[in-house]
């Protein structure tokens, strides 16, 4: 008895049993379907999102009856008409769009040197420091970071107290458009750097040395070597920054103080303040459409390899 157990340990028996169960459930004849079985759970999970989109679509076609506060049974495009013709949503949309463009440009302007230094530096200590400085805010979350800015920029915040010490009256630094953009840039920097870094790693440093030895100064090297070769990364990072800042909720809500709403805040208000679910749903779908069109245009113009995330292989 004992001998046999030594010869054939328990773990082997368990493994054999599991193998048998697996072979019973998924016979070798179905081998070709195995990858699809492995993909199935992920497809089902993401399916929740698709289902959600359909439910938003359904809700967006039902009009709120303001006298009974019930939604209509029949479908109409009234909500979309209201969303497009309303001056208020046009203001919010143009504010968000303009904001996301400004944020994208400034974020890339700072992210490129940061990623460049991080990739090119000889010192592994400096590289690690830059990485940690990048990941710490990335891992802390928007609310806490926005709270930090409230402490710094508030009316009784650090900046104003410091100004007060030298006799300058308090300046209103919060709850305005620049404050929101400022917060968004800070929020987006890690995303942009993390998407740019692999693109810069792919550029051989020898190319820059070669340009230098042919007499180009560093500005020209940067313009004619680094920037063109980093273009896929720049486009990908710009795209991510633009869509994320266009659709952000927390920063405009906290640093804008309700006066600088972006699209996401307007949608939230439709659902939770005015309880006009149909109009909110119509706005959400339009935002999803704008986001998808932006991604689609970038794919069409620059090729689908832009989003580094899709690749992974090779």
């Amino acid at each position: 008895m004992r001998n046999s157990r030594v010869a054939y340990p328990l773990t082997w028996r368990v493994m054999d049993m599991l193998e048998n169960v697996c072979a019973r459930i998924w016979p070798a004849s179905l081998h070709r379907l195995l990858p699809y079985l492995m993909l199935l759970p992920a497809v089902v999970l993401v399916g929740l999102l698709v289902l959600g989109l359909f439910q938003i679509g359904d809700a967006s076609l039902r009009v709120l009856d303001t006298s009974t506060f019930l939604f209509s049974e029949d479908y109409s495009l009234e909500n979309y008409r209201q969303a497009i013709t309303s001056g208020f949503f046009a203001v919010v949309a143009s504010r968000s769009l303009m904001g996301s463009v400004i944020v994208t440009v400034i974020t890339l302007l700072f992210a490129l040197p940061y990623a460049y230094l991080m990739v090119r530096t000889q010192s592994s200590g400096l590289r690690k420091f830059l990485l940690v400085a990048l990941f710490l805010p990335f891992f802390i979350g928007q609310v806490v970071r926005a709270y930090g800015w409230l402490i710094i920029l508030g009316n009784q915040g650090m900046v104003n107290e410091a100004l007060g010490l030298v006799g300058v009256p308090p300046v209103r630094l919060l709850y305005n458009y620049p404050a929101v953009l400022f917060g968004l840039i800070q929020y987006m920097l890690p995303f942009a750097v993390l998407m740019l870094a692999p693109a810069l790693t792919a550029i051989p440093e020898e190319l820059e040395s070669a340009a230098g030895s042919l007499g180009a100064n560093w500005v020209r090297t940067f313009r004619h070597i680094v920037l063109p070769l980093a273009r896929p990364g720049l486009v990908g990072a710009g795209l991510v920054v633009m869509t994320l800042s266009l659709t952000d909720f927390a920063i405009p809500a906290i640093l804008g103080g309700g006066s600088q709403d972006f699209i996401a805040n307007a949608i939230y208000d439709q659902f939770f303040r005015t309880s006009n679910q149909g109009l909110g749903a119509a706005l959400s779908l339009m935002l999803v459409a704008v986001g998808s069109i932006m991604v689609g245009v970038v794919f069409a113009v620059f090729g689908a390899g832009t989003l580094a995330m899709t690749g992974g292989r090779k």
């Binding site: 993909l39 289902l51 940690v132 710490l136 710094i152 107290e161 993390l194 749903a281």
Partner: protein
Amino acid sequence: MIGSRSKTIVIWTFVAIALILLSAPTIVVLGASFTAGNMITFPPQGLSVKWYGAILGASDLRQAFIRSLIVSAICTVVSIPVGTLAGIALAKYKVRFEKAIQIYLLLPFTIPLIGSGIGMMLVFGNMGVLGQLWPVGIACCVINLPFMIWAVTASASNLNEDLELAAANCGAPPLQRFLYITLPAVLPGVITGSLLMFILALNEFLVSLLLVDARSVTLPVQIYNSIRSIITPDLAAISVVFIVCAGIAITLLDRLVGLDIFLKSK
């Protein structure tokens, strides 16, 4: 980095500003949490840890934190098998309609968060499960799933088909090959992905805000709700919890797989 002095100066100027921008909120929150005063003022009125004592006694904050931990745990536990299997399938096998499946699996990134959040709010609302914690965990898992799949596929270059064939040649059945050859090869990716999933779910704000009710608020939502009124140092103290968690996650990530993997070109 090669190049002239002016290049170093210009690059460092941008990097220095970026570093201040990135670190200022963290440092200020850390500093404010140790203030002795009842208000956050500058310069601070002495040092104390009394606000840490205050948050230990605040049961609403403690419960919100526990709820956040549960949500993150659910999210991570679900995402590990789902993301790992999908990642291996995409990296190892020739799949029909691979491009379409990839684009489909990237939907959580391309659909704006407010759209995903509202959609899942309607779905879970119709199922009548809103107000429980597991839908929040599942939702966090869905919206960040591409990170998990990306992390696994990124480490799939370690997959070696010859090794698996050799194992099969030695008589290892399929499950054994998967457990002893395939899985260890992508393990760094799985670790990276699950750390990302956990920390992102811990911090997830908008989707939590849409899916929780008054009795099931998570910590970021709790902080957001309290920010509206006056700024008190206890919020800074509880925010330090997030900073500590972020620090732990970064340390683990660095020890286990190395932060440098984020710089690799693919």
